[in-house]
């Protein structure tokens, strides 16, 4: 427990200021920009655009599930293309890109008190390669045979065989190529985020004074840098199997009566590689959401985050543990069943640090001064959906319980709740929270509340009942649920209800998009710090912050990020760059 560091004790800068690259033209300022804030907006806009495609795809698949046989154009082939592209886009091209490329780029330099990312040129390249990856992905819709329909997990052998849409056409090749590009682009950005957090912090910004948003994004980025290479090699190997006829993942196979030329490969090897990436990926999406929601709750409840140190260690523990749980996606894959004992144990251990985070969010509300702003509403909604989805994870992680539920709609409901809806709710909350900093104007309140209620309640009504379809035994990835003995009449009605809710929730997102565009010009002027928050991004001399972020002098940090309602202080918040006598006496040392 340290007392406030007096201003004169701040160490001198170790290195002098380095002049930033300054853009000379409209093109270098807004298009080929090296400013992390512009890159963040580019990343976010691209991710949102491709996310809209995935949203439409989800409508199409819900049309088929809710009203089977009504829409002739949704053939099984098309249905599998819809679900595959929906899943891949949402997980990789929307969530990962938006959290790390979007929020990471915008918030890391501002929150740690840096003028920009440490490698601005590489940062720019990162975005353009990401854009290329998205374009390659989109091109598969127009390629002969259409996009791949292998499921987002792309399991071989079917992913590269003719019984699967795109398997022997261009679909799978374009998908694998796009992923390879995405990973290259991400690595460029990711190295930037990590080095900026480690090396680019302003004076006084110790690691234990970082806002949890930065901790979340930082840890997720480190994880992504370790996990994506597994996907990278898996993609390269499958591409070789498909294009050159190698047999990394292909054993001897008879396809429709014909012996294929492959021999000796291991389909299950791909699953190990995929999930060695795929499970950390869940937390690559979740940890930034954990971090951001901590800051939203603290700011809007006007109270310090409860148990900051525990929160940081929980993030790190979750990040580390998530590398030893991957095979819980493979309990019924046919791997050695004795793996189940190990992976069930590690999986359930992760529940402990995760639960601590939930407790600490809720305990931050306890004795707070809760302002029910839109970001706060989204944060509350996140806790509900995350707790719900996290708890059903205890079913699926507990090996034997997974046996009947695996590959059913229960799994679909679980992961949509925990890594679909929950992180998206945080993204919405974060956009309502930081939009005023990005544009200088507030988002419209009425539209925002409408968006919140429909999204939150609607999404819960979609995914909560869906668990029970899975409990009945309804399998996932079924383009047709007809002729199935376990599907009762009422279960079909439930599916129709879920579909209708999906259309309504999707419609609410259009309202949100309208709000985003409309408020750029017509929103209420926000001022520099509308939420009266403590972190550095709200203390910039201009809003929106200009190139270089902090004007002439970089801020010096004197306190942690959570000095809300400090006893004796006049205001109910003390920004991180304010020196002074009001003891953050209980700031964690």
């Amino acid at each position: 427990m340290v007392d406030v560091t007096p201003a004169d004790a701040v160490p001198p800068a170790e290195v002098g200021e380095v002049e930033l690259y300054h853009p000379h033209s409209w093109w270098t300022k807004y298009v080929f920009s090296q400013d992390a804030k512009v890159i963040a907006v580019q990343y976010s806009a691209t991710a949102t655009a491709i996310g809209l495609v995935a949203l439409v795809l989800s409508w199409l698949m819900r049309l088929q599930l809710g009203f089977p046989g009504t829409f002739d154009f949704i053939t099984p082939e098309a249905y599998y293309q819809f679900i595959t592209m929906h899943g891949m886009i949402m997980v990789i091209y929307l969530l990962t890109a938006l959290f790390l490329g979007g929020f990471g780029n915008y918030l890391i330099p501002l929150m740690v008190g840096a003028r920009d990312m440490v490698f601005p040129y590489v940062n720019m390249l990162s975005y353009w390669i990401y854009l290329l990856a998205v374009l390659v992905l989109v091109s598969s819709f127009f390629a002969p045979g259409g996009p791949t329909g292998a499921g987002w997990t792309l399991y071989p052998p079917q992913a590269i065989m003719s019984g699967t849409p795109g398997g022997q056409d261009w679909g799978i090749i374009l998908m694998l190529s796009s992923l390879i590009l995405f990973i290259i682009g991400f690595t460029m950005g990711g190295l930037n985020y990590v080095v900026t957090v480690l090396q680019g912090r302003t004076r006084g910004m110790t690691l234990m004074r970082l806002p949890l948003t930065v901790w979340g994004i930082f840890t997720a980025t480190v994880m992504a840098l370790l996990a994506f290479p597994a996907l990278f090699v898996a993609c390269v190997m499958m591409l070789l199997d498909r294009v050159l006829g190698t047999s990394f993942f292909m054993p001897a196979i008879v396809e429709m009566g014909e012996q294929l030329q492959h021999n000796g490969g291991s389909p299950i090897l791909f699953q190990h590689l995929f999930w060695f990436f795929g499970h950390p990926e869940v937390y690559i999406v979740a940890l930034p959401a954990f971090g951001i929601v901590s800051d939203l709750i603290s700011t809007h409840a006007r109270k310090n985050i409860f148990g900051y140190r525990m929160m940081v260690w929980a993030i790190i523990a979750i990040g580390a543990l998530s590398f030893v749980v991957w095979a819980h996606h493979m309990y019924v894959s046919g791997m050695n069943p004795y793996f189940g004992f190990f992976f069930a144990t590690t999986t359930l251990i992760i529940a402990v640090p995760t639960a601590i985070k939930v407790y600490n969010w809720v305990l931050t509300l306890w004795r707070g001064d809760i302002h029910l702003t839109i970001p706060m509403l989204f944060a509350l909604a996140f806790i509900v959906t995350f707790v719900n989805g996290g708890l059903t994870g205890l079913f699926l992680g507990n090996v034997v319980v997974d046996v009947p539920l695996s590959d059913t709609m229960f799994v679909v409901a679980h992961f949509h709740m925990v890594m679909g809806v929950a992180p998206i709710l945080v993204i919405f909350g974060a956009i309502y929270h930081w939009y005023p900093k990005v544009t200088g104007r507030m988002l419209d309140e009425t539209l925002g509340r409408f968006h919140f209620w429909v999204t939150f309640v609607g999404a819960y009504l979609i995914f909560f009942p869906m668990h029970y379809l899975g409990l009945m035994g309804v399998p996932r990835r079924y383009a047709e649920l007809t002729d199935m003995n376990i599907m009762t009449e009422s279960a079909h009605h439930l599916n129709s209800f879920i579909s209708i809710m999906a259309f309504i929730v999707g419609f609410a997102q259009m309202v949100f998009l309208f709000n985003l565009i409309w408020s750029i010009r017509h929103g209420r002027e926000a001022g520099g710090n509308p939420w009266r928050a403590t972190t550095l991004e709200w203390q910039t001399p201009q809003t929106p912050p200009t190139h270089g972020n902090f004007g002439k002098e970089l801020p010096i940090v004197y306190r942690w990020a959570y000095d809300y309602s400090v006893p004796g202080a006049k205001e109910d918040f003390i920004p991180q760059n304010v020196p002074g006598a009001f003891a953050p006496s209980r700031e964690p040392a």
Binding site: S333, M472, D483
Partner: protein, 295 residues
């Protein structure tokens, strides 16, 4: 304040839905009611945690909502509370894990008296093989698959000659006897899944996987494929009939062995792997035009 009401409604609604809705598991037909018990334990523990967290949150929002002059407390940490919560959580997790692992050890321990039955999957149909009088299945290899030998039984293995083959037709099993299902695929991943038996397992080309169960009641059960296997996946249905011992033996007597089926005069149309499932699968392929570029 609406949010407080909605939070409470979510808890109450979810609990009511759980108990009152008509959507629940299908009546069990195997010995894996142990699994159902662990699911019930999971529902209770997680349900209580869910209700407690959300209701506490609702209370906090109600009690500590912003009003003029309110000020939040300043309490960065509370070591004691944090430790207690960690201990309680660890206890809850243990209460889930221990019965789970206990049942899993049963699941992976096949009884020594279990009868082996082989299930062979291909796009998009199920075939079966039962050991003949010698009680042993002959070896098999995907490389041995031909039109006359669709399951790839090793032609030279004497153990395989009396194996009973059931190609693209219904499998019958005797009630009350433990069965070890050996799972094989000759093309892509599939998953042998019968909701009433609770158990399922992927089949992997190039490997033989397995699980075991004991059918506990007679009846006709639908087999579903639970691992995406291409566009015919949703139509890859099969049938398992659980019979009394008598009916089972009667059925078994009508089946043909590998040696009978591969005798020269027998080869031909009877052995083509062209069952109903395959035909409907091909229909699927024929119907798929969407997302192809306009010709």
């Amino acid at each position: 304040m609406a949010v407080v009401l909605v939070l409470v409604l979510i808890v109450v609604g979810s609990v009511l839905f759980h108990f009152l809705s008509p959507w629940w598991w299908t009546p069990i037909a195997s010995n894996w009611d142990y699994i159902d018990h662990t699911i019930i334990i999971s529902f209770w523990i997680t349900g209580i945690v869910f209700a407690a967290v959300v209701l506490f949150m609702a209370y906090c929002v109600f009690r500590f909502r912003h009003r003029e002059g309110n000020r939040a407390a300043y309490e960065p940490e509370n070591k004691r509370l944090e430790s207690w919560l960690m201990i309680v959580t660890a206890a809850g997790v243990t209460a889930l894990l221990v019965p789970g692992l206990f049942v899993w050890s049963r699941f992976v321990t096949v009884p020594s008296d279990a009868t082996e039955v082989e299930v062979v999957a291909q796009q998009w149909q199920w075939s079966f093989r039962l050991p003949g009088k010698d009680g042993k299945l002959g070896t098999s290899d995907t490389r041995d698959v031909t039109a006359d030998n669709p399951l790839g039984v090793a032609p030279k293995d004497p153990n395989g000659q009396d194996d009973v083959l059931v190609e693209a037709a219904d499998l019958h099993l005797p009630v009350g006897k433990p069965i070890k299902v050996l799972l094989r695929s000759i093309d892509v991943l599939h998953d042998f899944y019968i909701p009433e038996f609770r158990a399922k397992m992927d089949m992997i080309p190039g490997s033989v996987t397995y699980f075991w169960f004991t059918p506990t009641r007679t009846g006709t059960f639908q087999v579903l494929c639970a691992e995406l296997c291409g566009q015919g996946h949703p139509l890859m249905h099969g049938v398992v009939v659980v019979d009394t011992e008598q009916d089972y033996l009667a059925w078994l007597g009508q089946q043909q062995t590998f040696a009978q089926l591969s005798a020269p005069q027998q080869s031909g149309s009877a052995n083509q792997p062209s069952g109903k499932a395959m035909a409907s699968g091909l229909d699927v392929a024929a119907n798929s035009k969407l997302l192809r570029p306009a010709q």
